[in-house]
């Protein structure tokens, strides 16, 4: 028992130290990427300054993919093992994925207003991104904020796996259905000016750190919520909890 406690405290200390290191790294990378974007990367010839949205829009989309992938992996593992930790990972991935999806769907129209003259168009990539976001919003809506039951968790896990199937469709939609969405960093595109790459790479590193930090933090919060559920159950079983109180 004591050994368990000691091990738990040590591992907790290490976990907190690692989390703080990741936080510091994320702040540094974000600061560096903002410097690269606004002070080093050149202004684009045709679109002007609004093209700089690209440096956060594309990494946001990548972070969204990571979130949805983590959610689907966590959900699949939960369905197989029924361990609560995997469920926490599934929720964390979905929530962070939806956050970055909201960023993509907000920054994209602001760029499109200048580049295309419209806020929104039913382009294949835009539509499939919206659909993926809606699937994971449905995942989150299926789970109550407090004490999701096993049935809800299993149903939501299935939805997350289904939602992941949409991700390759988003990615290859431009190639398959020829939308208006730019393809500058794909094989079909003409590429970026060499001076623009450092800002883009720096943003990718910054968003990788940010998505890892947010998922990690969300998993910890979810595990704390699960502990509340366990304690409530123990208290209720022992008859020390008024049902209407909770």
């Amino acid at each position: 028992m004591v050994a368990f406690r000691t091990m738990g405290t040590k591992s907790q200390d290490r976990s907190v130290r690692l989390w703080r290191m990741l936080l510091g790294l994320t702040v540094l990378l974000i600061g560096g990427s903002l410097y690269e974007i606004f002070f080093v990367a050149p202004t684009e010839e045709q679109m002007g300054i609004v093209q700089k949205i690209f440096y956060f829009h594309v990494p946001s989309a990548y972070a969204m993919y990571v979130g949805f992938l983590v959610s689907a992996i966590g959900s699949a593992a939960y369905l197989k093992t029924r361990k609560e930790t995997w469920d926490a990972i599934g929720v964390a991935g979905a929530e962070v994925g939806v956050l970055f999806c909201a960023m993509v769907l907000t920054s994209g129209p602001l760029w499109a207003r200048k580049a295309w003259g419209v806020w929104w168009t039913w382009d294949p990539r835009l539509t499939t991104t919206l659909l993926a976001g809606m699937v994971f919003v449905a995942y989150l809506a299926l789970r109550p904020s407090r004490g999701a039951g096993t049935t809800e968790k299993r149903f939501a896990a299935g939805l997350a796996i289904l939602g992941l199937l949409n991700v390759p469709i988003i990615h290859y939609s431009v190639q398959r259905w020829r939308g208006q969405h730019p393809t500058v960093i794909s094989n079909r595109g003409g590429g970026l000016s060499p001076d623009m790459y450092p800002a883009l790479y720096m943003s990718f590193f910054a968003f990788t750190a940010l998505v890892a930090l947010l998922i990690w933090t969300r998993v910890r919060v979810e595990k704390t919520k699960q502990r509340v559920g366990e304690l409530e159950l123990r208290a209720a079983r022992a008859g020390h909890l008024e049902e209407e109180e909770w």
Partner: protein, 133 residues
């Protein structure tokens, strides 16, 4: 109770899916009709090649790139900080719940011992799991 709640959620999800199935094609249709009426059924390139039309409203549209850029970055960081604030709020609330429940359980165990209850407290089954992610 749980199954009723789940049924309500599934019903809500089904309505959302139906709405989505109707809204998306309708949106596409409205946009396609708008494009058709603007160009008389021709493509934008054909319309430009065959006729010149007077602009309606102001004669030139100036879209401010700087404001859009600031708006995009501002909204994105607002989302991130809003999410972090929400996580902090949930975490604070759950920690408070844990503290109250642990106090309630400890109090109950102590009163059980004082009352001559021979059954020992439940061994800390959650110790290993409380170390976080």
């Amino acid at each position: 109770m749980v199954s009723q709640d789940l049924k309500a959620r599934v019903r809500c999800l089904a309505f959302s899916a139906i709405f989505l199935c109707i809204a998306l094609p309708l949106g596409g249709l409205v946009q396609a009709q708008g494009a058709d009426s603007a160009t008389g059924g021709e493509s934008a390139a054909d319309a430009r090649a065959s006729s010149f039309r007077a602009v309606e409203g102001s004669d030139a549209e100036q879209v401010p790139g700087g404001s859009l850029l600031i708006g995009a970055y501002g909204v994105m960081w607002l989302f991130v900080f809003g999410y972090v604030w929400r996580l902090q709020k949930i975490h604070g609330q759950t920690r408070e719940d844990i503290r109250r429940l642990e106090l309630a359980l400890a109090g109950a165990e102590q009163s059980g011992k004082a009352g001559g209850d021979s059954e020992g407290p439940e061994a800390g089954t959650d110790e290993a799991d409380s170390s976080g992610a």
